[in-house]
Homo-oligomer: 352 residues x 4
Amino acid sequence: MAAKAKIGVLGASGYTGSELVRLLVRHPHVEIALLTADRKAGQEMRDVFPQFSHLALPKLVSIESIDWSASGLDLVFGALPHATTQRVIKDLLAKAPKMKVVDLSADFRLADPKAYARWYGHDHLAPELQQEAVYGLVEIHRAKIKTARLVANPGCYTTTSQLPLIPLIGSKAIDLDEIVVDAKSGMTGAGRGAKENMLFSEVSEGFHAYGVGHHRHMAELDQEFSTAAGRDVIVTFTPHLVPMNRGILATIYVRGTNGKSPQDLHGVLASFYDKEPFVHVLPFGELPQTRHVRGSNMTYIGVANDRIKGRAIIGSALDNLVKGASGQAVQNMNLLLGFPETTALEQVALFP
Amino acid sequence: MAAKAKIGVLGASGYTGSELVRLLVRHPHVEIALLTADRKAGQEMRDVFPQFSHLALPKLVSIESIDWSASGLDLVFGALPHATTQRVIKDLLAKAPKMKVVDLSADFRLADPKAYARWYGHDHLAPELQQEAVYGLVEIHRAKIKTARLVANPGCYTTTSQLPLIPLIGSKAIDLDEIVVDAKSGMTGAGRGAKENMLFSEVSEGFHAYGVGHHRHMAELDQEFSTAAGRDVIVTFTPHLVPMNRGILATIYVRGTNGKSPQDLHGVLASFYDKEPFVHVLPFGELPQTRHVRGSNMTYIGVANDRIKGRAIIGSALDNLVKGASGQAVQNMNLLLGFPETTALEQVALFP
Amino acid sequence: MAAKAKIGVLGASGYTGSELVRLLVRHPHVEIALLTADRKAGQEMRDVFPQFSHLALPKLVSIESIDWSASGLDLVFGALPHATTQRVIKDLLAKAPKMKVVDLSADFRLADPKAYARWYGHDHLAPELQQEAVYGLVEIHRAKIKTARLVANPGCYTTTSQLPLIPLIGSKAIDLDEIVVDAKSGMTGAGRGAKENMLFSEVSEGFHAYGVGHHRHMAELDQEFSTAAGRDVIVTFTPHLVPMNRGILATIYVRGTNGKSPQDLHGVLASFYDKEPFVHVLPFGELPQTRHVRGSNMTYIGVANDRIKGRAIIGSALDNLVKGASGQAVQNMNLLLGFPETTALEQVALFP
Amino acid sequence: MAAKAKIGVLGASGYTGSELVRLLVRHPHVEIALLTADRKAGQEMRDVFPQFSHLALPKLVSIESIDWSASGLDLVFGALPHATTQRVIKDLLAKAPKMKVVDLSADFRLADPKAYARWYGHDHLAPELQQEAVYGLVEIHRAKIKTARLVANPGCYTTTSQLPLIPLIGSKAIDLDEIVVDAKSGMTGAGRGAKENMLFSEVSEGFHAYGVGHHRHMAELDQEFSTAAGRDVIVTFTPHLVPMNRGILATIYVRGTNGKSPQDLHGVLASFYDKEPFVHVLPFGELPQTRHVRGSNMTYIGVANDRIKGRAIIGSALDNLVKGASGQAVQNMNLLLGFPETTALEQVALFP
């Protein structure tokens, strides 16, 4: 491979931004050419993330200071807040229409302008890009991603929920009206904004549900599950906060259709993911632990018998910052730029 | 009150034992007269729990060394392992038939000898005591407890699940065939035994389900739910481990019967627990956090709308070592000995 | 005791404020009559600290809304930020000169106006109160506290450091020029302000020193150590942050004077604190753990041999929110109002 | 590079063993050919460490089952318990004298048979190998390591302490009689043995010192510091346990000789480590955090002014399982087998 691809990270001072940098510095075919962070512009990456102190990285700049048409970038990762994103990406693609974009915000995940307006309370600023964007859940939409310009990287809760459920819904193996997703996430999923309820003393040594009944991730689940089913599907979904940094576990309660047993459901998933490098289905009866995928791009899925006949308990675990965000984004980048899909994503979980 | 009641704690070197001591040393009407710990016999309590270093407490002795008929104890707490318990309590009550016993093990919780044999794999050693024992969930069985000799203190998961569900089941407010209990517990619920999977490095920074489909607490739930319903009730129940010391949260998914809304279910619980000192129902739509009951004898219960019409999400939180074990045991003791029910249990949660 | 004393807590929405409320609700001789929280005025205490949801407490009000001369309060706790405090207390005591005040801020701890100006960068707003205030380290200054009107409650790091060192300095048992205090604190010591470096994800699973060489607590140490020694004493002091909520441990390195051995130093401390209810000296060679004083008003102190002859290693542990703040403040209140010193402070540590 | 080197890991069911596997699976020039775990022999690596579930690895075997002379291994890592190690390695090198060994136990770190006998209470079983072994602190002993057969990989506490202190001692920049090392470690340093005091509930939410005055790591420090100084050097050393999985921070108190300022000491270290890939000296005045080296092979060192003139505070941070154990072991392997020293060790810290 001759020249390295030039990559930009927009929003490098947040956790998904730093995680992108962590992964990209070990990628043999790319060069980090741009790092932005509006409020930290002018600082070094090591000032906001000291774990990079011993590395040479571009200085943080503001987005406003960039001339997109002259930037020479091959691909940009968007790790910006909701709403800011659509404004920036619209401008960027107008000025540099050949650039590729993997966006980690929620801005381009909903294809339906009405659904977007209903969940977010305002019309989308770039509806034509909303139409163009490809939903970047690789294991489900790989073919479409390869030829895309703009990929909407899925959310962490939704990736955890979709990877086990989409194959089951798509194969009509489970009852669509009785799906309960009880999800538990580590704190990094909430980002780096300084809020009282995210302080160590408010989070440590405790556990709670939040956003009950109105979490925005539900819109994304509704869209993807309904597409897979060919009809409207609404699931019960409750997110909880775990006093840990990384990891999401979804415990999912389903009923098999037409006498399908939990073993049958396990069979559907095991065969669907047989060749996938980043989804591993555990032996029947074993449920996954988040710690065993920490820092890796793996998703571990398990299926077990419920004690109520005909019902199954499914566990799905991933690292919200890797397969649930930046790792999946790099996986998307590899597809967009023609690199082997697993490049820079080979790390094994850091346990303990 | 003239003389103080003389109290013994069998199994004082475990967490429920030390928690009993923590509560009892602030009880104005009792005196800790006996502490046992077979493997630690001869040691001081401060040697196994240094937080008592500045207090005068009886030295730890072995159970074998006790002459029950001459002990002069008014009440004994059993905080011994399963199976050992039934042997010891049988012997104790044979020799000192007027002594009262609050047992924290699972040995006397199941009233049905067949259910016991099925779940535990052997016949009960003291079937007549099994019949005599009163199930000590105070808010549900208060009247029977007051006149009991032997109280079987409920388990922590089951207390968390029963307090919200028994009133709903008893009033036929929810569908009995569709109850899902997704429960999450801190580590102290697993006791103080030295096992690899309980090491800090195995537990910290991770989350997982365990005992899926075959957790022994289910037998206790089956019994109490079926009694309340007047028919067999089996619920889906999945326990998880949270990297924290104390606290259990149960997230419970139910469907109202006959058009009963989540608001209606909230009303049932709010009115059922209106006068109870240790169960507090939060305003509709708010779900509890374990940290807000840590170290206290309170149970906080909340009810919220599911996004699927007709279904409700219920949260129930308590401290597994207090209301889930030793606090409820002291509450039972207060009833058995005629003290005000809240004595020594007034502490507010230690948060943060 | 006829009427209960009426108590106010200024700044009830912070951690020391809520901890005062936790302790005071179990005090038989006081009534919480006033709770202030400027930015949360109008809310209930349960809105900012849900652990009080089941209790009746006064609504939060703003300080500006209070008529001090008509308040009828017997004593007020100040749990306000630095600088705000001196303004508020000056006004309060001008209008209600008979009220007693226990102030938990740093504003009245330094007796020397010049030291204050040097460390805080401005002149004190109430220099006459600065002169009047009594430094509230009970075990050292008990007699003066009893007759005071305004008590400056000591800091958490400084209480941890002074309790072992003042008796040793005062008895000339250690070399004054070679004292190293390596201190480690839980996160609640940093308060409830929403700052990025206090987020769970920034604190969990890591450890670091901070404020090296310029921590403001040093001024307080300098004052008290120099007073005890009768000459200037400056110690090396490094604070660190531990990923836990509560607790401070100081590991202190000293050299005995005139051949005094670590055993001798232990003897000095054991005899000095022999009758104290809240300071316990462990057997020689044992060092304390913060978990064994969590939630209690105890300080545990231990002394052990260093491997270098003539040098000792001293450990001192307390709960920064109790003996390091609100518990000591209640202890001061008990002295000021003539209650038994230990009232409402009898709780044993919550471990595990 | 034609054929890959064949590598064995003895003791793969412990934390240093699994960490070796984690690093080696990304090493392009080696093949994991042997994994032993006596009590888990016959199991798959995924049974004891589920994070390897998706990888193909050799089954765990017992050491007894191996024919060393026919094993074809190029290098073996010893991650066995103390004492077992010397017996196994002696046997192994007798039968396969050309094999190279990097041993992670303490068995070969002390060169002096008398020191070994004094600290461990028995004579060494392989005194000739004790003489042959090279102490594997790469940055200090790189040249000797390259030609060694048996490398004694340093301990985690001692690596953390030596990297900042050896250059200062060697250049006579600090007073040798006044060095205090206050060290804090995460729990993985204590291994995977199931002990009560390592349970989550015993470790979480607390902090304490341990092994005061008699920690075995002191022998290793004494040897290396004395060698560097050319005279006997004994330092004060206190280890503490932090409720976190990974990381060691040493806070070190020293006095500069001959008027050397903390800035001068910083200069010594900055220049000593200028070209080193795995030791990074932070700008003067900044002290490191363990979280910024978590999972990486980096050591971060900082130097700051003490408030007492002439004294400096030094911070040194590394991941005890990487640079403090398995990462350094792989670094040693790279030297022994002629690979670039940084191969498979390029990972950036996993923060948050």
